[in-house]
Amino acid sequence: MWIQGFLTVLSPHSLIYLFLGTAIGLVVGVLPALGPAFAVALMLPFTFGMDTVSAIVFLVTIHAACAFGDSVTSILVRTPGSAATVPSTWDGYPLTEQGKGAMALGISAFGSFFGGLIGWIVMVLVAGLISKVAMSIGAPEYFALGLMALLLISIASKGQTIKGLIWAAVGLAVSFIGADPITGIQARFSFGIVWLEGGIPLVVSMLGLFAVPQVISMLSQGTPVTEVQEFKGSILSGLMELLKRPFTIIRSAIIGLYIGILPALGSTVATTTSYLVEQKYSPDRENFGKGAPAGLIAAEVSKGACVVADLIPTFMLGVPGSMATAITLAALIYHGLQPGPRFLTSGSVVPYAIFAGVLMAQFLFAISGTLLAKPFAKIARIPAPILAPILAMLTIMGVFPERRATFDLFLVIGFGLIGWISKRLDYPVVSLVLGALLGSLVETNFHRSLQIGMGSYSVFFTRPITVVLLLITLAFMVGPLVTGFLQRRRSPGSARKEAAVTVELPDRRSVDIELAMLIGVIALFGSMIIMSFGYGPQTRMFPLIVMISGLALVLYRLAWLLSIRKSAAAPAEAPAESRVRGQGMPLWLAILVLVGYVVALSVLGFGLATLLFLGIAAVLAGYRRRAMAWTVAVVTAVVAVAMGVLLRLPLPPGSVLPPWLFR
């Protein structure tokens, strides 16, 4: 059966779709913000006319190639292709800054490949077995898993506990916006805005938190990502880095597999978790965030494994592992294929051909990645005044199709400001991300668990897997306290040494900014607390707990800031962001230009607004050759509009000028 499967997939007819899928996936993936779900959804209608094997192989290949392509912009220009590749920016981008962009891409290509390969082997060998286990993962187990993942916040906020917890609370608050966890019908915390009723799409918050600050900082600093002329390291050096760290690969693959197999947990959870776990255990942990290959490896391997593992519950249980696989599942069903435990034993060669196709897809994107890495890496050298506005444009192109809402565009900038403030005040964004990702997971499954146990909390203590997970969580929480205690018993002097390490005090301006920010957070928490009382007791339980604890932490921090404010030092003479003379624009102007772009989009429509924005931003950011700047602006705008037509991307239409003039 296997041989027949491979032969089917390698037939000229299917090969075409393998290559086409890889190409499409790569192109869409490299466009920031357009992730696998979008690519697969876009191509779904085309597959209705295809034969079954080609259709599914096509979709699966697009998915895999897109997931890889997403890493490219994350690494090269710190603009995540999807929420899942955000962790790739944390060490991938610093590597690019150091001129090692090609090596980082090599790590990405081969890392994703190894992850995918391991995922494939597992899928083939033990899919049936794993499905049985996956069956017993219910709401209480998800709740315990979510709690365990929330613990990772403590790793993420090492050294900045209060800040980390405050940001986690904000992230959790963001996740509570949306449908209520009990009936799924009511909208919570929508502040009267219809676009908040369904919750905030992940692509909006992730891109806002990571892509927008990047654009702002590039616009205000004016320097390109890297000025290194010679690219150190090649793709193969990336492979070497991988081979030097087998344990990292194994750890990350396991996490990616695990999370992929569980429906409801997507690749973003996989990559974030894998990164943080690796940070805890890697001998290289001091360098995480500064270009540690281990960090990038962790993110990429787990992503590769997760993407393939997502197919396991999809094929074997009919329960999709992610949005992209949900769409693939629809295609499966449309073609009359029955997902389920009998998937492989139905007697047809089709499932085997599909599995063979999944493997081929891994090889294809790895090979194309290797070939394209050096050319891609050159992108990092494009001058910032040109590149940054293009990234902003691509972000818009990625966010708008999600819901066709201009509101989302403003929301992206809002999150961008949050991301910017996080950098400025040294608040760990990771904690916010984790809160946003895990909040609704933990809350929804908590309530489901109670319904399963009919109101009794014993449901958490009578299910073996849940109990084990909760004990592990407890061990992780208590462990450090115990070891710390034992250490102090053994050497009483060390405690005093730890306390003597001075905490760097913020300067006066930072204190003021932080105070303003915290007042904003108080307003947020306060209004949400008031809104909670309009909901039923169960619906408001979690939000109230989180909000009130968050409020307490904020007030504590506020008090501390006020106490040191008088004695805070004046800010350093030079402005915080170093600027090459004549390059870059002031921060407030960068933000104004971005907001202006969004407003222009809704008034003038995509084509014209983008043209004006690209030109004006480049010139204001200090690009001297005006004619060149405007030429690039025109060409880019035209290409973007053309791409929008080709990919059938919905783009902002104007309201002032007649609609037929612009898309």
Partner: protein, 334 residues
Amino acid sequence: MTGKLLSGRAPFVKLVSLLIAVSMVAVAVSGCSLSSSSAYPSQNITFLVPFNAGGMFDIQARLLAPYIQKYLPKNTNVVVQNEPAAATKVATLKLFDANPDGYTIAILNVVAMSTLYAQGDLENRNPADLDFLGRVNYAPYILVVGSKGRFKSLEDMKGQKIRFAGTGSAYMQSVLLAQAIGGECVFQSYNGAPDAIMAVQRGDADANLINWDSAVKYLQASEGALTPVVAFADQRLTAFPDLPTSKELGLQIDPGLMGLMASQSVVAAPGKIPANIEKVLREAVTKAINDPAFIADGQKAGYYFGPLSPEDTKNVAVSVAEFVKAHKDLLKSK
């Protein structure tokens, strides 16, 4: 060369000429179809789908679109547009407020629309004001239990606390069904039908109300772990000849509730479309949903299409909406 041309002393002129050039290119590139005053239809028709790509209603719309296209004059394209935001609210409002020019239609889930109506999310809009063009899918619910679960039949459940699993669109029905048999519903809300069914299989929930065409697939895949208990239809379902109907089991179910106990998707357009345009649209949709090839396509994908005339469709939609509105207390926050 461009340098010489543009190196004049009036950068503003440069800018303006650039803008004009771009506008012309944009027009050419965007492949505009000017909506001239020629007879209807003269441009694409937008087919709004308030659900995600790949979901049940999305697939139905995508299967239907080419057939509507077939019966419309002049090669008019029917373009599916997914717009799931705010639990179908955004797209539904878009439909109500769209220009009554025959260029916007939508597929609606009767239950979802009724829920919006009942909760006041449609503000002052009334479903009766829509122009219902026909029904696509009609799949009565069946009640499924775990074969090794607490309850093996409807009798067992009478007077008991029953744990229902389901998506938000099955919430009201589960509560009312429990009430109808003197029991109480404890509801677990899941994001999708597969997750809800898994919960029953696992034993986390006792029962699940699910449309029968989806049920066939899950029952097969479960290999005996799930058992159907009753069908909510007037006659026995051909796919489940041994499954008793609610009527046979002596269940007293309000006709309004029976309307809710089925997955129904309908095609609708905004009200008050000029009669001559509406006629063309209506005929195209009617022919499309009755086309045997379309029904066969649906069966291949596992859907059961039960086409209804526009008048009957409207009756169904409006009666379900009014029923849900009458019971809107059930939708209050817990």
